[in-house]
Symmetry: C2
Subunit: 510 residues, 2 copies
């Protein structure tokens, strides 16, 4: 059985959620990281830690506090959540290698940390478009995404009622919420990018900051001089924000106003402790365009902007591609870590081939697992509908699960402390035919159970020492359990005994 438990920190208002799985063999329950949130949000609000800090004259941002040597309640919370020392959390944030996105106006958030020293995180994109939009449906997608393990959610709404949609999402979210403010800014100027101004953008940022948005994608690295570099690509500019800023720069023949006003942007972000997610507006949209000069030129500019943000005590992560063949993935992480001074990398996939629309959760889970192994801190999911349409509920789940797999595979490959305990618990349950434990320890217990029951629905099959793959006679798991018992008794001169027990074991079922 899975239960939700809360582990207390050093003060009563630090209560860290876990999903605890009881095991039928009576061994210690397994505790899993839990993103599902409290469900009913009137259990909140909790103590306003940020207000408390302000009262005592501490810095507002987590970065500011960390640099001042302060371990905030949020840092302690994530330390409990990750099973690490609070000092590690503070030091990683202070060095800029990790971010803890928590807008002072988003007290509903359950703090989490994004950085290569910690568990790899997964973001799920939701949001309306001009073609499909419904506020309740988006809140439902949020709840659904976090139920399956999304660590943050981005509201990418571009349809009508952007403000109300976002308000509903932030107020119902226990995970940090990210946005791409240029979408709403563009909406405010009736969709004409040439009417965009710094003033409209600033107004939009402040509106969203007041609502409690935790991190914002800002395409400040799309410089005028990089735009022509994308002209000869197979797929040009595929980032919406990137193409909007590119159109603006070219038409005005002026430098990107997000770049020229970046210091003021930092001042606003610092007031709310909003984390920058510096957008890769020139990310490749196809295998052919991976790792080109447009992409890497912008990345170097993001490195410069990182230093500016850090001077304002503003937290930063860096967005990455996109579409990259496997042999070019590592270069992305290595270069990003170098030029962005180890700021956390946050990548969209990458997709490792372009040939499988409708399966891009898989083409990109491959790239995501690899890029995370190399040091990416958070993975933005891709759903089966990528390139084809807006994800529905099923697509959101498929995307989140594929990415939880990629993230956990990377945690294992990085040797994250404790990561393998989950695999071992499940494999042990499998070997010992504890079917219910195996299901409950799964990323998706319901589907695992239903697949098993498709061929063996009888309750007795849940304790049977075989499944429908091999049937009762050939089960290698059972044979090798018996070998194990046999070995335990000593290998030599036990043949006779084994023949006897073996003879019984292999009798076909009547």
């Amino acid at each position: 059985m899975r239960r939700k438990v809360y582990v207390p920190g050093s003060r009563p208002d630090i209560q860290v959620p876990f999903a605890e799985v009881d095991l039928t063999d009576g061994s210690t329950p397994v505790r899993l990281y839990d993103t599902s949130g409290p469900g009913v949000f009137d259990r909140l609000p909790r103590v306003d830690w940020a207000a408390d800090r302000r009262l005592h004259g501490a810095p507002v941002t987590q970065l500011g506090c960390a640099r001042a040597g302060i371990i905030t309640p949020e840092m302690e919370y994530v330390a409990v959540r990750e099973g690490v020392a609070p000092e590690l959390v503070r030091d990683e944030i202070a060095a800029g290698r990790a971010v803890l996105p928590a807008n002072v106006n988003h007290p509903e958030v359950e703090p989490m940390v994004i950085g290569k020293a910690f568990l790899v995180k997964v973001n799920a994109n939701i949001g309306t478009s001009a073609v499909t939009s419904d506020v309740a449906e988006e809140v439902e997608k949020l709840t659904w995404a976090t139920r399956w393990g999304a660590d943050t959610v981005m509201d990418l709404s571009t349809g009508p009622r952007i403000h109300e949609t976002r308000e509903a999402i932030v107020r119902n979210s226990a995970v940090p919420i990210g946005t791409v403010p240029i979408y709403q800014a563009l909406e405010k100027v009736k969709g004409d990018p040439l009417k965009l101004t710094w003033e409209v953008y600033r107004e939009t940022i402040i509106e969203q900051a007041e609502q409690g948005v935790d991190y914002m994608t800002v395409h400040a690295g799309v410089l005028l001089r990089y735009v022509p570099l994308a002209a000869d690509r197979v797929t040009g500019i595929v980032s919406r924000g990137g193409s909007i800023m590119a159109a603006w720069c070219l038409a005005k023949h002026q430098e990107n106003f997000l770049y020229t006003n970046f210091e003021e942007l930092c001042e606003i972000f610092a007031r709310y402790d909003i984390t920058f997610s510096l957008g890769d507006g020139l990310r490749p949209g196809s295998i052919a365009d991976a790792n080109d000069e447009a992409q890497f030129g912008e990345l170097r500019t993001l490195g410069e902007l990182t230093e500016i943000a850090w001077r304002h005590d503003v937290q930063v992560m860096i967005e990455g591609p996109g579409h990259v063949p496997m042999h070019k993935i590592r270069e992305n992480v290595d270069l990003q870590q170098e030029v962005c001074h180890e700021a956390p990398f946050y990548t969209l996939g990458p997709l490792t081939t372009d040939i499988a629309p409708a399966y891009d959760h898989i083409t990109s889970a491959i790239g995501a697992a690899m890029i995370a192994m190399y040091g990416t801190a958070m993975l933005c999911y891709v759903t089966p509908k990528e390139h084809l349409g807006l994800p529905d509920r099923d697509d959101v789940k498929a995307g989140v699960i594929a990415y939880k797999i990629a993230a956990h595979a990377a945690d294992l490959a990085k040797g994250h402390p404790g990561a393998q305990a989950w695999d071992d618990a499940l494999s042990k349950a499998r070997f010992e035919f504890r079917w219910e434990d195996q299901f409950n320890l799964s990323l998706d217990p319901e589907t695992a159970r239903s697949y098993h029951d498709a061929t063996l629905p009888a309750p007795a099959a849940k304790t049977a020492h075989f499944c429908s793959m091999c049937g009762p006679k050939f089960c290698s798991m059972r044979i090798s359990q018996e070998l194990k018992e046999y070995a335990a008794k000593g290998m030599a001169d036990k043949s006779a005994e084994f023949v006897e027990s073996g003879g019984k074991v292999y009798l076909p079922l009547a």
Copy 2:
């Protein structure tokens, strides 16, 4: 539109199938590798190339011919299929780095080659079990698997009517068929492994050889001394064949009869040109057990057996794991290539984590893509039902598609000549809003089309310059197409013109 075309070789009976995709922009059609077979098998039989060879005193096996410098019609066929020189095919086979599995009694087969110098191949497992079995259903799974791109199919039947099931599969298969003969041998002794003998096994091999099985998994490397090494594992021995042989060795306290009779086995295989698939009976069944001494001890023995088989002119590939975390994958390929003298590696996944039953096509596609990039020649698929039940039609498709993605991602990463042309054609179609071309170039055109149509079903949407993801106003693809045109006209002093066209472009649809 997709059409099947046949490209002729140097003689009229060499007709190599391709799927040709016509493009709506009138550019050169794209030719894709095609495994779907002729559909109606009375179009066959073709000329019996093997009989012809025998008449003229040439060696029976492809390895024998290659070593004698002969380019067989089969080799020429695969050269056309792969777009390489026939001499390369011959030389790779002669060196043992590639196999061309084609039993002389399987004239229905469309020759294909498995080796690291060629396209990465995918195998699909089908077959009955004691719990679920139906001959017609298995033939349907075969046709279905090859329709989606399976390059070979293994019939792993353990249920009733093993012989008839296999006969139906081989006679209807244009792809090489593999089996694990120990399953039927065990059936012949009523499921009691202790009654297994070399004689029963040999009789089974010959029965299957006569039917035309192209390659057989033989667990000859499970030596008595390795079995105790698996006793302390988390999941013991998970290979069915491996556990059967381990049980036999332990109970008899004798060496594996497949090992002690290996020379005679080679003589039989040579007569039919059956390819060895040397089974990894001690492969790891969990992350915890990866790359241990039991696994690598057996692998070294498979290397010795490879040399013996080669002395008999018998082709060999080596089976590999299983469950391996990402950071331990490369070691598997490197060691296998070293100790097995570059014989083709044929791996089951590997799964990169144990925590996601019901999604093991994804956990393993990650590992499969990586291991193929490092040099694995063929990937055995894993379906969503792995560990839970027998795959049905939908599972077979899900498994094949996930593995075609992994294989192609590896082809790209290895820089296989021509591999990227497919991605480029699809991405170009995407960028130019040629929706029908994008669908037709997809691994799964039907699903891609249906996902698109879920939100935009109108026929006009198939030529629309946007999709439901962003809606008409924000389409970055369209914006960047316009940037491209703009750039083509020269970057400087074109702002005014862009403003004019841009103003029109961004008018929201009425």
